[in-house]
Symmetry: C2
Subunit: 110 residues, 2 copies
DNA sequence: TGACATACTGTGTGATACATGGTATATGTA
DNA sequence: TACATATACCATGTATCACACAGTATGTCA
């Protein structure tokens, strides 16, 4: 059905969280996040992002507010201090993983 | 229950596949992989790794053979050409993600 | 003998990416 | 005005996966 197999899909899972936490240093709404990431070569499905945003808010990593109540509804999200702490630990994990992969790559390619 | 939250756990998902595909350029068995990764600061649960190995073999990315049939059974896995191709595309994804994260980090931290 | 390490397997459970389908407003254009 | 398309979000369902829990069986060492 899909071009991208499961193994490739799995690569997105942790990554999207981290990207969102980095991006939302400035307040943005869901649809906008999808477009901005798209322009940077990162494809995130709407139906992946919206639940993720709600989940991150539920856990205290993001805060949100509705904008322009009478116009087209936009829900702006922004990272909280708790979210910054989470971002920090995810970044650490990311970097440790990067080191492991680089080390292994050198072994394989030599 | 666990120290590590879901957001942190999610970081492992794509990563483990890639590490295994890199590591198995040399034939190794499951229990050995867990120990080797452990020594490199990467914690992979046995109950995560064993199914992953079977899954990768099922999809043709790994081949396996049982060793020493009458002694303690060890199942040696090794990457196939198909697995190398998969590894290549996962590495590409990894690098693209790395670029995206680095770009965002610079924006956030400046 | 018995504790512990080694080596693997089967069956849950909960979380999540993505699919499908839907609501509602805004905007461009014929 | 009519109608398509873009914008912006949500609800529900399915498949997959990390990890928990529990078990089998052999090897090793005190």
């Amino acid at each position: 059905m899909s071009e991208v197999h499961n193994f490739e899909k799995e690569m997105n899972r942790g990554f999207i969280q981290l990207v969102v936490l980095l991006l939302l240093e400035k307040p943005m709404y869901g649809y906008m996040i999808v477009r901005v990431l798209e322009q940077n070569g990162v494809v995130v499905d709407e139906n992946t992002l919206y639940p993720l945003l709600r989940r991150l808010e539920e856990k205290g990593a993001l805060s949100s507010r509705w904008d322009a109540p009478e116009a087209k509804a936009r829900k702006y999200y922004q990272v909280t201090d708790q979210g910054r702490a989470l971002r920090g630990s995810l970044l650490e994990i990311w970097q440790q993983q990067g080191k492991a992969i680089e080390a292994l790559r050198q072994e394989v390619e030599s």
